[in-house]
């Protein structure tokens, strides 16, 4: 029988995959892909908990996460286009000139 913990574990695994992507990737577009994976993992967890409690709150949260993801993509892609026009690359190592 598939229970809640199955879904939560798969969500955790997906989140970790996204985290590996964020840590490993130097290309900004790939980095954004990895954050999308993490957002999706959070969505699965919300839907699963929502199903467990028979409560719609989790599904509501997941809707808003999707909306937030869409708007972040809009801003992020705008940024990518400007960066690409200016620098001709999307590689983080080439972009970072300031040393914080």
């Amino acid at each position: 029988m598939i229970g809640l913990s199955h879904y939560l574990i798969i969500s955790g695994i997906l989140f970790a995959i996204g985290l590996v992507g964020v840590l490993r990737r130097k290309n900004l577009l790939m980095l954004f892909f990895a954050t999308e994976i993490m957002l999706n993992a959070a969505n699965v967890a919300f839907a699963a908990v929502s199903n467990y409690y028979h409560d719609l709150t989790g599904q509501m949260f997941a809707f808003f996460i999707i909306a937030v993801a869409a708007s972040e993509v809009a801003v992020g892609l705008g940024l990518l286009i400007v960066l690409y026009k200016k620098f001709g690359t999307l590689d983080l190592d080439d972009l970072a000139s300031m040393k914080g």
Binding site: D55, A67, A70, S97
Partner: protein
């Protein structure tokens, strides 16, 4: 039975596809596998009885967000393999593995609270889309409207960054007063 088969199938496929996304050298492969993985994520939502969420996932995520990425890719050279300097791959995988282990332990542990009263319970005999609508447009009306403002802000930000005077090349235009000397 069917739920088990579906769950394991979806899990194996999403994990595999997202692995491709994270590890592939080619942006095109990466993006395609990401889109496919998101389609399968919606399968989880259908299994969990969140039909409407699954549909939204398909329409918004796969339909809109991935299409946006596909459009953006046209600005960049997408067919070429990207070269990345992965200095310490082993460390990254170690960290990622530890994070995975930690999260799985957290999620596998009995984290659910006891005696929880659902704030907005699922109504028996009413379709998912209908009950979602009833909660979303009464109790969550304010966040809903605010989310609209958020999308507006995102649109403005996107237009400011990428949209205005797109025919001008950014490298040739010089601002008369504020060209900061790049001292470093």
């Amino acid at each position: 039975m069917y739920e088990q088969i579906a769950f394991y199938l979806f899990s194996a496929l999403t994990v595999g596809l997202f692995m491709v996304t994270v590890l592939s050298k080619n942006i095109l492969y990466s993006m395609t596998s990401l889109a496919a993985g998101m389609v399968l994520i919606s399968g989880f939502f259908f299994l969990l009885g969140a039909d409407f969420l699954g549909v939204v996932q398909l329409i918004v995520y796969v339909g809109a967000v991935m299409a946006l990425y596909a459009f953006a890719m046209m600005f960049f050279d997408a067919t070429r393999d990207i070269k990345e300097k992965n200095t310490s791959s082993a460390l990254v995988f170690l960290l990622g593995g530890m994070a995975a282990l930690l999260l799985v332990v957290v999620f596998a542990a009995p984290i659910m609270g006891e005696n929880i009263q659902a704030s907005y319970p699922v109504i028996e005999g009413v379709g998912n889309a209908e009950s979602v609508g009833m909660v979303l447009f009464t109790k969550y009306l304010v966040p809903f409207e605010v989310a609209a403002v958020m999308l507006l802000v995102a649109m403005i930000a996107g237009i400011i960054l990428a949209g205005k005077k797109m025919d001008h090349s950014l490298t040739t235009v010089d601002d008369p007063i504020n060209v900061q000397e790049e001292t470093k």
